[in-house]
Amino acid sequence: MLYDIFIDPFVQMYDMPDFFLQVLWEGFVAGILYALIALGFVLIFKASGVFNFAQGIMVVFAGLTLVGLNENGVPAYLALALTIAAMGILAYGVERVVMRPLVNQPDIILLMATIGLTYFLIGFGEFVFGGEPKQMITEELGLPTGSTAFEFGERGLVILQHIDIAAAVIAVLMVAALGIFFNKTRIGRALRAVADDHQAALSVGISLNQIWAIVWFAAGLVALATGIMWGARSDVSFALEIVAFKALPVLILGGFTSIPGAIVGGLIIGFGEKIGELYWGGLVGGGIESWLAYIIALIFLLFRPQGLFGERIIERV
C-alpha cells in the first residue's frame, strides 16, 4: 500500500517518460484554460469587488454567439467582430442594470446578483440559440486543427495538438496585452486606481460606471477567448458552464486580485490534478479530479488564507 502511494507512481513516471511528458502537457493546457476563466473573475473582482459567478456562463454565451452567428451565414471574422460587440453590449447592460443599483452592497448580495445573471443568461442563451451543442468554427477562424507527434525513445510518443499550442500562445498574448493595458494606458491606470480605493478614485474624477463597463467588457473578451478554446477542445454547449467551477480553486490559490496569481494558480491546479489523477487516482477508483483541485486549494489556504499573490488581509476591530 505504502509502495503504491509513495514509490510506484514515480517508478511509472521514470518508466514511461513520454507519457509523463504528455501528462505534463495536458496539465499545462488544462491549467492555461482554467487560468483564462480565472482571469475573467480576477479582472472584475479587482475593479469592483464583485465575485462574478457569471463568468462561466459568459464563456458559453460568447462561444454560442460566435458559432450561432456563423451558422446563420455570417462570415467567421464578421461573426467574431459582432460577438465582441455583443459582449460590449452585455457589459454595458450588466453595469447599467445590475451593478449600478447594487453599488455598496455586501459581497454576498453582489455574488447572488451574478448568480441571478447566470440563470438569466442560461435561459436567454438557450432561448436564442437552442440547447443543442454546436461545433466550434475552429478552421473558419484560422486556428490550427492538426497535431504533431514527437517520436520519443523506442515507442514513446508525445502528441501536441496545434489548437492547444494556439491556446497557450493566445493566453500569453492576452496576459501581456492586459498587463500593458493596465500599466501603460490612461484607462488602465484608472482601473488600478478604482481597484485600490473606490472613493479616492471617485474623488479624483474617475467615472466608476465607465470603468466597470470596461472591466466587464474586458472580462467578456477573455470569456470569448476561453469559449473558443474550450469549444475547440470539446463542443460549445451549456455543459461547459460546469467546467467554470474549476476556476474557483484556481482563484483561491492565486488570490482574487492578482493576474499573475490566476496564471500560476491555474498551472498549479492543471498540473496537480492531471498528475494526481493519473498517478494516484487509480488507488481510490479514479475520478478524484473532480475534487482534488479544491482539496489542494483548501490545504493551501490553511497556511496562507489570502492566496499566493493576494493582498494580506488585515482585520481591525
Binding site: 465575485f51 442594470v97 445590475v98 443599483p101 447594487l102 452592497q105 455586501p106 459581497d107 454576498i108 448580495i109 455574488l111 447572488m112 446578483a113 448568480i115 441571478g116 445573471l117 447566470t118 440563470y119 438569466f120 443568461l121 442560461i122 435561459g123 436567454f124 438557450e126 432561448f127 440547447g131 467551477f245 474557483l248 480553486p249 482563484l251 483561491i252 482574487f256 481510490v284 477508483g285 475520478g287 478524484i288 473532480s290 475534487w291 479544491y294 482539496i295 486549494a297 483548501l298 489556504l301 490553511l302 488564507p305 489570502q306 492566496g307 488581509i313 482585520e315 476591530v317
Partner: protein, 358 residues
C-alpha cells in the same frame, strides 16, 4: 391600524419574553398552522401536495439550516447540497441496517451524521473567511458527491448507483415507499419542519443564537467578550448540517422516493442559497418565503401557460422560466437586498400606522 400593539400590556417577564409577544403575530401563526394542518389537507389534490407543498417544506427546512450558518453565524457555505445528501444516505443506510425501526426516527437520527461531517468541513472556517470559505465549502460539496458515487456501500451496492426508498410502516401507516399516500407524507414533513422551526426559533434567540450573531457581526470582538470562536462556529456548522441533513433525508424519503448522487449536486446548494438570500439572511420566516418563491414560482410558470390555454413549447417555457427567475433574483436584490423578511417588516410597519402614516 391592523397591526397595533398598543394596549397589549405585559404583566410578567415571561409574557414579555415570549416567542411572539404581539397578539396579531400569534393569531397569524395560528391561522397559518390551521391552513397548513387542516385546510390544505382537506382541499389540496395529490399534485399540489407532492409537487408543491412537500418540496416547499423540505426546502424551507434546508433553507433554515443554511440560514443558521450563513444568516446567523455569517459563514457562507456552498456545500448545502452535499450535507443534505449525507443525511439522505445516512437515513438510507440506517433503514437498511435497522429495517424494523421507525423511519421518522431514522430520518431525525440521520442528521447526526451530517452534523458530524459538517463540523469536520467547518474546521477551516477558523482561518478562512468570506468568499474564500465559500470556495472551500465547495471542496466538501465535490468530495462528498464523489463519495456518493464511489463508495458502493453507501447505496447498498445497487447496480444503478441510486438509493431507492423501501416500503416502511410506522404507527400502522405506510410512510415511505411508493404506497405512502401524499397526505401521510405531507403530515410527516410538515410535522418535522414545524418542530425544527419551533426549536430553532427558540435556540436562535437564546444564548447560543446570540453567540452566533456575535461571531457574525464581528468575530474578533466576540472573542474578546468571551465567545470561543472554534466551538461557536463548529456548533453552527453542526446544527446547520443537522437540519440540512434531515431535510435531505426527507427529500428522498417523503418526496422523491429514489435519489442519484446528482440529486444532491451543486445546483441544489445554489437553490437553497437563493432561498436564504431572497428570503432574508437571518430570518426564519424569510426561509419559508424564500423557499416558496424559488420553488413555487417555476412550477407555476411551467404549468400556468398550459392551464390557461396558451400553447407554448415545453422548452420555451423552461427557457423563459430561467430568464424570469434570474431577472427576478436581480430585481429583488436591487429593490430589497435584505429579502422578503425585510419587505414583510416594512409591510407590518405600514399596517401599524395605516391609515395615517405620519
Amino acid at each position: 391600524m391592523f397591526y397595533r400593539e398598543a394596549g397589549q400590556f405585559k404583566t410578567s417577564y415571561k409574557a414579555d419574553q415570549a416567542l411572539m409577544p404581539i397578539l396579531q403575530d400569534r393569531v397569524g401563526l395560528l391561522v397559518i398552522l390551521a391552513v397548513a394542518f387542516v385546510v390544505i389537507p382537506v382541499f389540496a389534490n395529490d399534485f399540489f401536495l407532492t409537487s408543491i407543498m412537500i418540496p416547499f417544506l423540505v426546502f424551507s427546512l434546508a433553507a433554515i439550516g443554511l440560514n443558521v450558518l450563513t444568516g446567523f453565524c455569517g459563514q457562507l457555505s456552498l456545500g448545502t447540497g452535499a450535507f443534505m445528501g449525507v443525511g439522505a444516505y445516512a437515513a438510507y443506510k440506517l433503514t437498511s441496517i435497522f429495517p424494523d425501526a421507525n423511519v421518522i426516527l431514522m430520518v431525525l437520527l440521520s442528521g447526526v451524521f451530517s452534523a458530524a461531517i459538517g463540523a469536520v468541513f467547518g474546521l477551516p472556517s477558523l482561518r478562512i473567511k468570506g468568499l474564500y470559505l465559500a470556495v472551500t465549502t465547495l471542496a466538501a460539496q465535490f468530495f462528498l458527491e464523489w463519495c456518493f458515487i464511489r463508495i458502493p456501500w453507501l447505496y447498498n451496492y445497487n447496480a444503478s448507483g441510486a438509493i431507492e426508498i423501501p416500503h416502511r410502516e410506522a404507527f400502522g401507516v405506510v410512510v415511505s415507499g411508493a404506497e405512502a399516500t401524499p397526505i401521510v407524507r405531507y403530515f410527516i414533513v410538515l410535522g418535522i419542519t414545524a418542530l425544527i422551526a419551533y426549536l430553532m426559533a427558540n435556540v436562535l434567540r437564546g444564548r447560543i443564537g446570540r453567540s452566533w450573531m456575535m461571531i457574525r457581526d464581528m468575530d474578533i470582538a466576540a472573542e474578546l467578550m468571551g465567545i470561543r470562536p472554534l466551538q461557536t462556529k463548529l456548533m453552527a456548522f453542526a446544527v446547520s448540517s443537522y437540519i440540512c441533513g434531515v431535510a435531505g433525508a426527507m427529500m428522498v424519503f417523503f418526496w422523491l422516493n429514489a435519489a442519484e448522487p446528482s440529486s444532491y449536486s451543486i445546483s441544489l446548494s445554489f437553490q437553497i442559497l437563493f432561498m436564504v438570500i431572497l428570503g432574508g439572511l437571518g430570518s426564519l420566516s424569510g426561509a419559508f418565503m424564500g423557499a416558496a418563491f424559488i420553488w413555487i414560482l417555476p412550477v407555476f410558470l411551467k404549468f400556468i401557460p398550459g392551464t390557461i390555454g396558451i400553447n407554448v413549447a415545453a422548452e420555451t417555457v423552461e427557457h423563459i422560466t430561467f430568464m424570469v427567475v434570474g431577472a427576478l433574483i436581480i430585481f429583488f436584490l436591487i429593490v430589497e437586498p435584505h429579502g422578503f423578511a425585510r419587505l414583510w417588516q416594512i409591510a407590518k410597519q405600514k399596517l401599524r400606522v395605516w391609515p395615517f402614516p405620519y
